[in-house]
Symmetry: C2
Subunit: 198 residues, 2 copies
DNA sequence: CTGGGATGTTAGTCACCATTAACGTAATCG
DNA sequence: CGATTACGTTAATGGTGACTAACATCCCAG
């Protein structure tokens, strides 16, 4: 009818491939430390061919971060609305973040390092999504611990993100099979402590 | 006799001033996102004047990271040799890292992001110091929990660093007076969980 | 067929940037 | 007093890198 099969599917494939390679490179050397040539080379095309898929280097980064933020936020909302209670929601949120951190270390790394290099139209939107994601956590924590001030819960949430996102640093120390429960236990315990200490 | 007052003191002052400004800029925009002009401008001199104090941009970064790694490592050693027992050592190590994270967020940020941009002579040395610092933690944890495999302790240590170094992200959420005990409690609890979970 | 869109390629172009050169100015020291 | 030293300044210079132009292919639709 309207959209034919090969154009639609191929376009998407290539774009995804580029985004993935770029994420790996950005995580390793930083946005400005990677050239268009580098990214093209990583997917077997060379240099300016990227402009057939993205309007520029900035747009590539914007789309990357926008995509990550949306996916995290959507997962959080899905989990929050489908869980029977706050305790289960927190558990599910932990699993979402842990899965993401273990399976997409490069994206997680870029996500919390490179916001400063995103140009202004997109930056605001990414910030908004990140804020909504944090608030999803804070809301659940507030349900579980109504006496704890929100600012404290927010700080604790950021600390837990730092803990979970440490995976890229300890890559190779432990297999994912062991890393996953370890992170879960540490994060859960850290959260408990954050609301219990007077 | 040998070193005169103004030269020694002034040289040091300017260098320190430059290092601090550069750390702030590197943390915000990444090593390659900051120009020599930017750094000079931030301390009131302009551009190539930097070469009176550092042999180049790379050397500036090298010195910055070398300095941070040494200071952390030295503090850890000092604390480990002067504490009565492993429990007190762990406590003191936590305080060292928390103080650093709260008082020097830019340095901490650069320290764990920009190692990849340090040229080879210095890189090895920085890595060495970082490794020694981690081992200081692992040694203490191993004394407290001899049954726990070292790989697990290492992974837990990295996770705790991630937790403590989250300060730059939650800047402003909470005053340092509250942040400090919060981080301490969360980290301590996370460590407990890391060795208790089977 | 055939014309056009999707996708690449290779040669500019233009800006930016690290680094060096050439050149002042104060203050210190002998 | 000189003269060296510490510190800056403003012009090159040379390289790199993002982006554009001009020019193929391939493949499908009409």
């Amino acid at each position: 009818m309207s959209t034919v099969t090969p154009p639609t599917r191929n376009r998407g494939k290539r774009r995804a491939e580029i985004l993935e390679a770029a994420a790996r490179l950005f995580a390793a050397r930083g946005f400005h430390g990677v050239s268009i040539e580098d990214i093209g080379g990583a997917v077997g095309i060379s240099g300016p061919a990227l402009y057939r898929h993205f309007s520029g280097k900035d747009a590539l980064l914007s789309e990357m971060l926008l995509d990550v933020s949306s996916r995290l936020r959507e997962s959080a909302v899905a989990v929050a609305t489908s869980s029977p209670g706050p305790a289960e929601t927190l558990d599910a949120l932990l699993n979402v973040q842990i899965t993401f951190a273990i399976e997409q270390p490069a994206l997680i790394t870029v996500h919390d390092r490179e916001l400063g290099n995103v140009p202004e139209p997109a930056r605001r939107q990414i910030r908004r999504l990140q804020r909504l994601y944090v608030e999803e956590w804070v809301t659940v924590l507030a349900e579980l611990h109504p006496a704890c001030p929100a600012a404290r819960l927010r700080a604790a949430t950021h600390a837990v993100f730092g803990l979970l996102n440490s995976t890229p640093h300890s890559a190779g120390e432990l297999p994912a099979r062991d890393m996953r429960p370890l992170l879960h236990a540490m994060a859960r315990s850290a959260i408990e402590a954050s609301v219990n200490t007077r």
